[in-house]
Amino acid sequence: MTTNHNQIPITYLRPAKGLATLNLKDLWDYRELIYFLTWRDLKVRYKQTVLGFSWVILQPVINMVVFTVLFGQLLKVPTDGIPYPIFSFAALLPWLYFAGSLTRSSTTLVGSANLISKVFFPRMAIPIAGVLSGIVDFVVSLIVLVGMMLFYKIIPTWNLLMLPIFLFLAMLTALGFGLWLSALNVRFRDINHLVPFIIEIWKYATPVIYGATLIPERFRFLLGLNPMTGVVEGFRWAILGSKYVENFDPGPLFIVSITITLVILISGVIFFRNTERTFADII
């Protein structure tokens, strides 16, 4: 009897020792699972809510209104002549995407404890789905942005084509930090409590309600250490065009941001891969 042995996949069981190989092929084999987890996230998020999907639009709009009243009208944050509502909205879009993605990717792993202790699949699928599902929300809230651009008569420039790249950077940043935090969360549930604080503080460290130009020029490179600065300023540059960048060039900032993001992401993948083998035992 000749069975074609070549087609039968062989799995080796071995103790977890030393550095794991990254084995990203595994993840590729389970791409449909990532798709379904993302889809589940979306389906479930607005179920049994009265307003349903409108929350996607309401969230940034309410935020923007509050910021406009507080920082635009009362505190009069300088915006280089840009109307404050669109100035803040352009930054809020990537920020809210990032904050949501980071929260989901760092906490959903522990939420799936039941699954992790019973079924094998690449654990990374869960945080990845966490950052992907926010993209749909993001795309929907772009509608508001288009409306506001029409209202403020902002003529789109070619810069706008760079938007997906900045979004991609936000996604990688959220995933990088999400991988670190979710893996740590399996062991230290403190992370669950910590994440909201991290995000709150991070929001103020990022020029969301103010512009990077508020910071004196010689300290501005420090902002680059926060990859979200590159993303947020990149968004403003892409949406508001040359109107915004009169005396400020986001280029160098952006390069620093990309470097930091890649370092966090790659180390996050390595850390996650090396700890995921013990998840089922300690979760």
Partner: protein, 419 residues
């Protein structure tokens, strides 16, 4: 050359008890211990270590159906987890040829907010099925589950039976080379169990390898050809199933009429419930292993509640040695008991059940335990907590030294009338 599906060599798995039973793993503890002794590896004393698996070696041929039996905590589930790559072994190696599919505790991976249809796709993907595969099997799955009418209803509105059938249907239709089944048959009605067993023998007939863990000896006997008996993380016997089942039934049980639970035998998720002891007591109040069929017997279960529980019911399953159910009884079956003990405060409890004389036939019987709240939560279950023997001396009909069929031997009122 024989065709080996699973080969494992000296597989061991170690757990640290501290990590299992109390979560001291907060960042603060970690940091303080790092500050106190930053370069020292924190020593773990031997009694904190549990070898869930110890030097397990075996080969399993392709297409065979293997049963795994053993007491709670014997390492059966850990073995399946290692084989399905959920967790890594601490030492030893294994080689698995083919795709492994696990038939899980039913409903793992179901999302209550999603509809039946959506859950089929989601659960299929979690179990490693491709989307096209799921699409191809979709109708078959719905047919098998008998929930076609409710397929677009969120599963949180399903009855527990529907939920179960759907979950089983998805898992049963994934076509792995090696199917791993852990205790799925502990739930569901008889009709459902029959259907599941049928499906599983289909799988076996298609030449797939099946590993089947169960406490249900008749299912093991019906389904498997060969059985591994596990005890304390080791395989103590591998033999044709009927031989292995007999070995398992006649060994491993303490012969004193008392079963005491060690801390490491109590599953983590039982809290706040913890079983202490189960005793078989005769008419004189002695703890014994053999009861005369003409005397009343008491089954006493001692347990601790660390928090108050509403609606708790503690009960026994009485089974024959081969695993057929004789009856099930709960301490709050009577309405007045149910009202009186609707809430049980924390404390040590005894639930005692008196079984009248002349109930059982000669032979060996098994007592299983269940502590649960109806449809809400199962705190603790052990289908084979203890066994006892019935000595038939003085039972009805003993003047004929023949074997009486059936597990019970009641003393009944006969009338003979001559017209």
């Amino acid at each position: 050359m024989t065709d080996i599906a699973i080969h494992v060599d000296k597989l061991s798995k170690k757990y640290k008890l501290g990590a299992m039973y109390e979560r001291q793993d907060t960042l603060r503890d970690f940091l303080t211990s790092m500050v106190r002794s930053p370069f020292q590896k924190r020593p773990v004393s031997d009694n904190q270590i549990l070898w869930a698996l110890k030097d397990i070696s075996f080969d399993i041929e392709r297409g065979s159906v293997i049963g795994i039996v053993g007491r709670n905590g014997a390492g059966k589930s850990t073995l399946l987890k290692v084989l399905s790559r959920v967790t890594d072994p601490t030492s030893g190696i294994g080689e698995i040829r083919g795709r492994v599919g696990s038939l899980l505790e039913v409903g793992t991976g179901f999302h209550p907010e999603l509809t039946g249809r959506e859950n089929i796709y989601l659960n299929g993907a979690i179990l490693g099925m491709k989307r096209t595969e799921i699409e191809k099997k979709f109708d078959e799955i719905v047919d098998f589950s008998e929930v076609a009418k409710f397929i677009d209803t969120p599963v949180k509105r399903y009855s527990s039976g529907m939920y179960l059938r759907l979950a089983f249907a998805v898992a049963a239709h994934l076509e792995p080379d090696i199917l791993v089944v852990d205790e799925v048959l502990a739930v569901g009605d008889a009709e459902f169990q029959r259907k599941c067993l049928g499906k599983m023998s289909d799988v076996a007939e298609q030449g797939r390898t099946v590993l089947f863990v169960s406490h249900n000896m008749s299912a093991i006997l019906r389904l498997t050809t060969e059985t591994l008996v596990m005890e304390k993380g080791r395989i103590v016997k591998r033999a044709p199933s009927n031989e292995a089942v007999d070995f398992y039934l006649s060994s491993g049980f303490v012969e004193t009429g008392e079963r005491i639970w060690d801390v490491d035998e109590i599953p983590e998720n039982a809290a706040p419930f913890s079983p202490k002891a189960l005793r078989i007591i005769n008419e004189q109040g002695l703890v014994v292993n053999t009861i005369r069929s003409t005397e009343e017997m008491t089954i006493e279960f001692e347990y601790q509640l660390d928090a108050s529980v509403t609606g708790l019911r503690v009960g026994f399953y009485l089974m024959s040695a081969r695993g057929e159910f004789i009856f099930t009884t709960f301490d709050t079956d009577e309405p007045q008991m149910y009202d009186r003990f609707s809430v049980r405060e924390p404390g040590l409890y005894y639930s005692r059940c008196k079984i009248p004389a002349d109930t059982f036939n000669e032979g060996r019987f098994v007592v299983g335990i269940n502590a649960s709240t109806y449809r809400i939560r199962r705190y603790f279950q052990d289908e084979r907590a203890i066994t006892f023997n019935i000595d038939p001396a003085g039972a009805p009909g003993m003047q004929w030294p023949e074997q009486r069929l059936g597990p019970t031997r009641p003393r009944l009122n006969w009338e003979i009338e001559k017209k």
